[in-house]
């Protein structure tokens, strides 16, 4: 799995729960890690180089796992994240999380 930390576009199922399709970052070329740390709320990750065109949306084959992270309650802004590990068409595995309504692609397998 490679680190991404890129904003993602997610299509949710009708019930509005699990993602059914997702797109993120550039469609071609190597994915460049932006930061080893997750982005802080309200602060978009710094992208390396010029903005890239968005990748095509890919279908979610299955939700392999989902989990929740809450933390940093002692700081001014707390973290609340819902994570998903997705299997996408083409076999890619993507770790995705939702924080405050925004979606982020965290890591992906080649």
């Amino acid at each position: 799995m490679r680190l991404l930390m890129i904003e993602a576009r997610v299509v949710l199922a009708d019930e509005g729960r699990a993602p059914v399709a997702v797109g993120w970052g550039a469609p071609d070329g190597p994915l460049t890690p932006v930061s080893a740390h997750p982005p802080r709320p309200g602060r978009p990750p710094r992208a390396a180089g010029a903005p890239r065109p968005p990748s095509p949306t890919r279908k979610v084959v299955s939700v392999l796992d989902s989990w929740r992270y809450d933390g940093r309650w002692w700081e001014a802004v707390e973290l609340h994240r819902d994570y998903y590990l997705l299997e996408l068409d083409g076999g890619t595995q993507l770790e995705l999380f939702n924080e405050g309504g925004a979606w982020w692609a965290a890591r992906a397998s080649d």
Binding site: D65, R68, Y69, W74
Partner: protein, 1048 residues
């Protein structure tokens, strides 16, 4: 079947705050939340603890939930400990669980070896545990064959009662883990059960849970740790949430099945008395009667016999009806033992109203003579435990407890516990550590709380925000801190500690009722507090150490040693001089009447008998103060106000207290004789009146009370309402008349010794330290008593304060008090004993060198003794200190050398008086010198135009003065409407300084930190009890700071 379909109906793995540091909610909160979410069963499974059991069952009954009791028990398997969840499936299963927990607490590892678990499987349901459990961990380590072998072993011991626990806390891979565990269970033919591990009631509580976990693990919130929570998903979940996370119908059904099969009622209906020693040819009832009638003939004569006999018959009938004969005989066994061994002991509390207790020798006060009400103690409708509190000389209480353990057997005797709940200072330390605040900052914060806030519960931390801002400013951590504290429940338990005296003596082994554990001091205690023990059907005896009894005992021994007189403290002659002393308010050092407000009341009351003294003891309490009883009582007693009654029928009840309500017995009598209640109803009513909590509100009883009074004595509605209001104003006050009498006897005895044997009494109260005053203030008071205090002396001081006949300043020999070596900080009793023994064996120490060679003590001990002046008679302090240092650099102490090789000390300046005073304070917290801290700033005070306190004793009332004193006492009681009461000291003279709320607010920090206060004040009262009202305040640096009493 309760868990029809997939909906979970039972929570089987719930932790409360009794999982000390690993849970945040009370059993009641959890039960309420479970009821709201529609659960039918809740199993409390705290970590090695069942302290929440009684509260759980009581709350469950109130909220329509069925309670199950269990515990999470670490089990050692092949060198590793895994938590298993055990749920009692019957009363016998509960006893087995208690034995297992006891076993774990008895081991350093705090766990149970697997063979022990296999041997204690009777009537217990075993769940394999959550995330840290054996199944999850061994699967994660791919040790599947080991896991299978373990499960087969467990299956053998827990047939049909072993369940593989499914949990899902929304951690990574929790879903897959649950699927794998389910498959494993299927392959082994074992059932699974849905049992999410609940650690708090609401998701928002996870912050507090995380902080407590950090505090427990010794890490700060900034530091990651595998055992810290990763999310807020261990809150009590709704059945739908569980269903979504664990969509396995059989797991939910099994949870319901476990719950239904394990449900039983834990709390019994009757009390079970311990087994008394009774002669073979009789029954406990007959033996009790025999003992009482024999004593009755000895203690009563003439007309009193018939009255006593009638009362005894009535009491014995009640005792028989309640089956409590053995309980009384056991109490008598304890006091018999004390008497046989010369240990001062006396029953107090409501038991003092019982003629049975009096005739058995358990109590000292004659209930007939003092007209004490038996029904306060016991009546046939009573369902709660009778209180028999026995005060024992604190110095010898250990002896009594050891005998009790020997007599009743180690497994049927233990102390009840106190559930130590958080107050702000403790919470600041624990949670501050978790938040990463360094110790210095935490200590500053604790100090900043001062007397204003330190008594607050953490939940009220917002009231102390000013102190938090003073230390932490606007840093985000301050908000996080206040938020955490605010989230703590009112009675959040931090740890269990031994009760001050509650000993439970049971018929069966105590593990039938509760696990046993040892406190840090080695005391064996139950995981039940006194109320829990009662609810579990156990009877407790309070064997309380009372320092004043030790002091009286010690003073009596000193009198015997010096004068050859043996005093019968239970039968001292009535002495005008004692009453004169009390009436003057010179009561510092006397039992129960030594506080500034008691001293003041002494002057107004002018008690001349034990009844008045008992009233005085009961009067200065929060209840009478709050209900406005004090002033009417005092005015009526002085004849300044007419004695009136709310209704004529109350005159026989309240005439001895001038028509005001003072005692619990009066509430009982009013409830019965005025409102027409039965004794059972009245006792319940009295209990509510005595309580403090919102549950104890008597308002719902108003109508019944008023209607009862109208019917029973023909009172008008207004009269009945007025009496009810008076009773309501009494709320929260819990003093029994019988208790006041028992205390009055001790108070009189202390006054008698103070008058007749002041030196012996001073030595006794300095040794045993009863009461509120520091040794320094007592030492100053000794000047007023005319008792010289001699200096420390390695050739005269011993282990306790002792009286010597000494010539002071060349006069005639007088009795003087010599302080002991162990009053020096850093010198233990054992060390003092060694110094004394060596002196007795080989004669007085001739020099520092001689002592150094003869005593194998540490350099710090020698230095402390020298600095305290113990070698003053053998040379100068500075020189002695020099020699100790030099000797320590050449050879170890306790070795004889012909030639030490240490040169003589160079010429050193002698200590000035102030230096000596400061050294004294640093080493002993008081000085034997006839000076006071104020003497060293006297010239400055003169420049400030301050009048010494001594001169103010003769000042006119309302005079405005400027004065100063060393602060030796601080009080700001909640009942005082924001007023604070400080005690200023100048030599043997003290003044109470009343500080109004506006001055307090303006000088909060000064009043917290000042040692010497300079005040412009108005004189409110003069004489011995000098009282001033502060008008302005400032401070002066003092050479020493005194640790006085503090009470908020």
């Amino acid at each position: 079947m309760g868990g029809a379909g997939q909906r979970l109906g039972a929570l089987l793995n719930v932790h409360s705050y009794f999982s000390l540091g690993a849970g945040t909610a009370s059993p009641t909160t959890l039960v309420k939340r479970a009821a709201e979410l529609g659960y039918r069963y809740l199993a409390l499974t705290d970590d090695l603890n069942v302290s929440g059991a009684v509260e759980l069952f009581q709350a469950a009954k109130a909220h329509g939930v069925r309670a199950l009791i269990g515990a999470t028990v670490p089990v050692r398997v092949d060198g590793e400990a895994y938590p298993f969840v055990l749920i009692a499936a019957s009363r016998a299963g509960y006893a087995t669980l208690c034995r297992l927990i006891t076993l774990a607490h008895g081991r350093d590892e705090r766990d149970v070896p697997l063979p022990a678990l296999l041997a204690h499987a009777h009537d217990l349901v075993l769940l394999t545990g959550p995330r840290e459990g054996a199944v999850a961990r061994l699967l994660a380590q791919r040790r599947v064959s080991e896991l299978e072998a373990l499960l087969r072993q467990l299956q053998g011991a827990f047939p049909e009662r072993l369940y593989l626990q499914l949990f899902h806390d929304r951690y990574r891979w929790d879903g897959r883990r649950a699927r794998v565990i389910r498959r494993l269970a299927q392959s082994l033919g074992l059932p699974v059960v849905a049992a999410p591990e609940v650690r708090y009631a609401e998701p928002a509580d996870y912050r507090l849970y995380d902080a407590l976990t950090c505090a427990r693990l010794g890490v700060s919130v900034q530091q990651p740790h595998a055992r810290r929570p990763q999310n807020a998903c261990q809150a009590l979940p709704s059945p739908e949430e569980v269903q979504e996370r664990l969509p396995y119908p059989e797991a939910a059904l099994n949870a319901a099945w476990v719950a239904e099969s394990a449900y039983f009622e834990l709390l019994p209906e009757r009390l079970v008395p311990p087994k008394a020693r009774v002669p073979a040819d009789t029954t406990p009832e007959r033996y009790l009667e025999e003992r009482c009638y024999t004593a009755l003939i000895q203690r009563y004569e003439g007309e009193a016999v018939a009255r006593a006999r009638a009362r005894l018959e009535e009491e014995l009938a009640t005792v028989r009806a309640l089956g409590l004969a053995e309980f009384f005989l056991v109490a008598a066994e304890v006091t018999d033992y004390c008497r046989r061994h010369g240990i001062l002991a006396a029953g107090r509390g409501s038991a003092a109203a019982s003629i049975v207790c009096y005739l058995l020798g358990v109590t000292m006060a004659d209930p007939l003579k003092h007209d004490l009400l038996f029904e306060r103690f016991l009546h046939t409708g009573k369902t709660s435990m009778p209180d028999v509190d026995i005060d024992i000389s604190s110095a010898r209480r250990g002896e009594v407890l050891a005998w009790v353990e020997e007599r009743f057997g180690a497994d049927t005797e233990a102390m009840v516990c106190n559930k130590i709940t958080y107050r702000l200072p403790l919470a600041v330390q624990d949670l501050g550590r978790a938040l990463g605040l360094p110790p210095e900052l935490r200590n500053r914060l604790t100090k900043a709380l001062g007397r204003d806030f330190r008594g607050l519960r953490p939940g009220s931390a917002a009231k102390a925000e000013v102190a938090f801002r003073e230390v932490l400013g606007e840093a985000p951590v301050a908000d996080a801190f206040l938020g955490l504290l605010g989230a703590m429940e009112r009675k959040h338990v931090r740890h269990l500690a031994p009760h001050s005296g509650g000993v439970v003596l049971a018929r069966d082994p105590l593990t039938h009722y509760s696990p046993l554990e040892r406190s840090s001091g080695g005391i064996k205690l139950l995981q039940l507090d006194k109320d829990d023990a009662e609810a579990m059907g156990l009877i407790k005896l309070d064997l309380l150490g009372l320092r004043m009894l030790s002091a009286l005992e010690r003073a009596r021994e000193e009198v015997m040693r010096l004068d050859g007189v043996w005093l019968d403290l239970a039968d001292l002659p009535d002495d005008e001089r004692v009453w004169d002393l009390i009436s003057e308010g010179a009561t510092l050092g006397l039992f129960q009447v030594e506080s500034p407000s008691q001293q003041h009341t002494s002057r107004v009351m002018r008690a001349r008998d034990l009844r008045a003294l008992s009233h005085q003891i009961a009067l200065i309490r929060p209840g009478p103060i709050q209900s406005g009883t004090v002033h009417p009582y005092l005015r009526r007693r002085q004849g300044l106000e007419e004695v009136t009654y709310w209704h004529p029928s109350l005159e026989p009840i309240l005439n001895k207290t001038y028509g005001v309500l003072l005692f619990q017995e009066d509430v009982l009598r009013i409830a019965v004789h005025f409102a027409g209640m039965s004794w059972t109803q009245a006792d319940r009513f009295r209990k509510k009146v005595s309580g403090w909590t919102e549950l104890d509100d008597i308002e719902p009883d108003r109508e019944a009370f008023v209607a009862g009074a109208q019917r029973h004595v023909g009172a008008t509605r207004e009269q009945a309402e007025r009496v009810f209001e008076a009773v309501k104003g009494f709320q929260g006050y819990g003093f029994a008349e019988s208790h006041a009498w028992a205390f009055a006897l001790h108070a009189y005895a202390s006054g008698w010794l103070r008058v007749h044997y002041p030196a012996e009494y001073l030595a006794a109260i300095l040794t045993e330290a009863p009461g509120m005053w520091s040794p320094s203030t007592k030492r100053q008071e000794a000047r007023a008593w005319g008792v010289p205090v001699l200096p420390f002396d390695v050739n005269a001081s011993g282990v306790h304060y002792r009286v010597e006949r000494a010539r002071v300043e060349g006069g005639e020999p007088v009795k003087a008090v010599r302080p002991p070596l162990c009053a020096v900080q850093g010198v233990s009793e054992q060390t003092a004993r060694e110094v004394l023994l060596e002196r007795l064996r080989h004669g007085p120490y001739r020099s520092v060198d001689d002592a150094y060679q003869r005593l194998p003590l540490g350099r710090d001990v020698f230095e402390a003794l020298v600095r305290a002046g113990a070698f003053d008679r053998l040379g100068g302090r500075r020189e002695a200190l020099y020699r100790v240092g030099a000797l320590a650099n050449t050879h170890a102490s306790g070795q004889r050398t012909l030639f030490s090789g240490v040169p003589e000390a160079p010429e050193l300046p002698p200590l000035s008086l102030q230096e000596r005073y400061v050294w004294d304070f640093q080493t002993t917290r008081f000085s034997t010198l006839e000076v006071h801290a104020i003497d060293f700033v006297r010239d400055q005070l003169r420049e400030l135009d301050c009048v010494p306190l001594l001169r103010l004793r003769r000042a006119a009332r309302k005079t405005r003065v400027r004065t100063a004193g060393l602060v030796v006492g601080k009080q700001r009681p909640p009942t005082a409407k924001g007023f604070a009461f400080f005690v200023l000291e100048d030599g043997p003279v003290r003044a109470q300084l009343i500080i109004p709320p506006d001055l307090w607010d303006a000088h909060r920090v000064l009043l917290r930190d000042a040692s010497i206060l300079v005040t412009d004040a108005a004189v409110e009262d003069t004489g011995y009890q000098l009282t001033l009202k502060a008008l302005s305040l400032s401070e002066l640096p003092a050479p020493v700071q005194v640790r006085g009493y503090h009470f908020a």
